[in-house]
């Protein structure tokens, strides 16, 4: 077993964090889409939460897959 197999990259944790943030924000955005709250923010029709949630999810996903433990860097 080589030394590299014990190595967990910091970017994996950052990717995981982005995935969690992405899921939470996407979830909140979808919830807002179907049950909008009374106090809407400006330009809420653009559904920024959904887009940002997706973006964070994609970036986090790339990092998690690229730096996942056991993958040869």
């Amino acid at each position: 077993m080589s030394e590299k197999r014990h190595f967990i990259s910091i970017w994996f944790f950052i990717g995981s964090l982005l995935v969690v943030y992405g899921l939470l924000i996407l979830g909140a955005g979808i919830y807002e889409l179907f049950s909008p709250s009374k106090s809407q923010v400006i330009m809420s029709y653009l559904h920024a939460g959904i887009w940002w949630g997706l973006l964070l999810l994609v970036i986090g996903g790339i990092y998690v897959s690229r730096f996942r433990p056991g993958k040869r860097l």
Binding site: Y21, L24, I25, L26, G27, A28, G29, Y31, E32, S37, Q40, V41, I42, M43, S44, A48, G49, W52, G53
Partner: protein, 290 residues
């Protein structure tokens, strides 16, 4: 120190320089955007305290509340708090380390147990947190946060720049000269600031112009005087003190240090290319905003 090779170390500095040049933009841009899109007028901190209106310094939370719904608002607040925490944690731990290792251990209590120094470091951390809280109240007496940041930078970073550059490039520079030069730069900066604070009309002497008005430009002129004081005192003290032998300066001074090869890389991966881009950016920004 932690870079894997010389090229990474150089590139790290160059990338840092890019972001450093963007600081005014990053700090000022939200305020400008807020001025353009918020339905009310933002005012300065003293006016805000008197009238209850919102000040420029509140622009980020105001914009977050205005544009970010549930979820995104949490991310924005988390980012703000993370920024505060990382800045404060870094400064407080640096304060505790400098006091404990560089002042307390060598000068005050040389032979104590490790547990004693750890305890001292912890108390310093606690003190640092309280000092940070006090500083927040100090900032309220400044025109804006960027003004305060520039005042502090000019107190410490500018003289430090002169000392580091001279010490790194001129092997004749002595430790005493470094100390007195740094002290002269800090004191020059502090007294010029105090002078203008007590007598605002003195800004015309600091900024070398009868038309000079109080504003952030006087910080830049103070930086110039601080650097001049630092360099002049460092050079003069150096010429009157005994230099360190060359073998003690190996690895510290440019001319006496063997520079390892960076390796062969295509032109766009070489630090010198990006350093040149930073240099050009620096000149262009200065021409635009002179």
């Amino acid at each position: 120190m932690t870079a894997k090779d010389l090229r990474s170390a150089k590139l790290g500095t160059v990338i840092g320089a890019f972001f450093k040049m963007m600081v005014p933009l990053i700090v000022i841009l939200p305020g400008l955007l807020g001025r353009a899109v918020l339905p009310f007028e933002l005012v300065s901190e003293p006016v805000a305290q008197q009238t209850g209106a919102h000040s420029y310094n509140e622009v980020l939370p105001l914009m977050l509340v205005r544009y970010c719904g549930p979820g995104l608002l949490g991310l924005g607040v988390t980012a703000l708090i993370a920024g505060f925490m990382s800045g404060m944690a870094g400064n407080v731990s640096a304060f505790a380390t400098v006091w404990t290792y560089d002042i307390y251990q060598p000068l005050i209590r040389k032979q104590a147990t490790d547990a004693h120094y750890v305890r001292m470091g912890r108390w310093c951390t606690l003190l640092g947190v309280f000092v940070s809280i006090g500083t927040a109240y100090l900032v309220m007496s400044f025109r804006s946060i960027i003004d305060y940041a520039q005042v502090v930078f000019v107190f410490f970073i500018v003289p430090m720049f002169g000392t580091v550059v001279l010490g790194m490039l001129w092997k004749r520079t002595t430790p005493a000269a470094g100390f007195w030069g740094l002290l002269a730069g800090i004191l020059a900066s502090f007294f010029l600031w105090l002078w203008v604070r007590l007598d605002p009309s003195a800004v015309r002497f600091v900024a070398l112009s009868a038309d000079a008005k109080l504003g952030m430009a006087d910080n830049i002129y103070r930086a110039m005087w601080s650097l001049v004081a630092n360099v002049v005192v460092t050079v003069v003290v150096t010429l009157f003190t005994k230099p360190k032998p060359a073998h003690e300066l190996k690895g510290l001074v440019y001319g006496l240090t063997e520079i390892p090869s960076e390796g062969h890389f295509p032109i766009f991966k070489r630090p010198i290319t990006w350093a040149a881009a930073v240099g050009i950016g620096f000149v262009v920004l200065n021409i635009i905003f002179w």
